[in-house]
Amino acid sequence: MKVAITGIGIIAPPGVCKEDFWQNIKAGKSFVSPITRFDASKYPSQVAGQIENLNTNPIPRRLLKKIDKFSIFALIATEQAIKDASLNLAKEDPYNIGIFIGNALGGWLYAETELRDLYVEGRDGVSPYLASAWFPAAPQGQISIFYGIKGYSKTVVADRASALMAIGYAAKVIENKKLNIAFAGGTEAPVTPYALLCCSTEGSLSKGLYRPFDKERDGFVVGEGAGILVLEDIEHALKRGANIYGFITGYGTFCDGVDRIMPDPNGKGLIKAIKATLNMAGYKPQDIDYVCADGVGTKLGDLSETRAIKEVFGKKIPVSAPKSMFGYLLGAAGAVDVIIALLAMQNSIIPPTINYQTKDPECDLDYVPNKSRLKEIKRALIISRGRGGINAVLTIERG
């Protein structure tokens, strides 16, 4: 497989444009802060990666009140990606452009508040826009309407692996010559009272510090935002003289099939997914220079991921979980990780796993602790995993 990546759009706690985002990521700063937008004092996890004072250009006010925050994030990130790719949509065939968006939760803030109104005020208290605002495919629809995009599109809901699966799926569709261009990525807005409660009761949220692979790790912290990539058929990209960041070269996914929440302790499904991805890309394990890990921060999650990476790559490969800086963006995380890996390649810098203090004898890889590292990266492998044993893996190569 070889599909070009020609544009990046990013809205995340470390930055709401590519440049700011990368400056903060390579500096290894933390963008996790106490939740202030609602009372989280009774929640086990009271911190999150949050985006404040977001400029909602180019969304008109008339549309803003009809859509949930996760659609707002997706629209802004798509606008950035289109500009970044220097795409003139008026010159493109709208039936040859698709939209592939990953999302785990849907528009819960909209749903929560309107459902409260339903129970308090009755039917007339509910916004008529709720019906089209909350559901997971809403961002796909809004992007389609906003830009007049009409090609084959799909929303992928696969828990925290949603975005990476959406990108892998989109790449396959382009590889099969069914589209010239795809907007692919993910969006999530989980910093809401009900969404955070559900993440908490599931038992995977940290009580304070998100520290993947650390011996004292106790889960992850949620973050909000969106990442959108412009994927393009190589010939199409070359013909219009597009800047090519890199290529998607392989994609694989397998399930563990063992538990509702926990992964297979030995990472068997992940090993299979990594091997299938390398096989599709035509790589040997030693061809990979950097692994952007899932790093969910739970005891078993990090242990099984470590075991799987070690089984395929040995102990020397640099592995990091940059999401430790800003939280796990659930169904958008994979897209943010692909963007980080692309910028890491472009700048020859591996971003770190932060908050790493105590070594776990069972998690014994090179996690690039706390400080970014200079290193040339030609090929990177990205891992996303979700509850119920979902494993997704993607490889990218420098342009």
């Binding site: 008109p60 008339r62 009809k66 007339d124 916004s127 008529p128």
Partner: protein, 78 residues
């Protein structure tokens, strides 16, 4: 007290971020003002609250003009 026509027009402007000059009596809800079915539901509920009247679901239609809406409200108030 403002007249009913002005109050209805103001509601369009407030609810849908429209310019006062585009909300004229001849403006068609769908063709001229770009309203869809969900916006018509919002308008209906807002009119019911504003004028303390009851408007049936589907009574205001996409093909209606602002003047039709004003007339529906006037008929109810009678």
């Amino acid at each position: 007290m403002e007249n009913i026509e002005e109050r209805v027009k103001k509601l369009f402007v407030k609810l849908f971020d429209m310019k006062p000059e585009e909300v004229n009596l001849e403006a068609n809800l769908n063709d001229d003002l770009g309203m869809d079915s969900t916006e018509i539901v919002e308008l209906t509920v807002a009119l019911e609250k504003e004028f303390k009247i009851n408007i049936e679901d589907g009574e205001i239609k996409k093909r209606h003009c602002v003047s039709d809406v004003v007339n529906i409200v006037k008929n109810r108030i009678k």
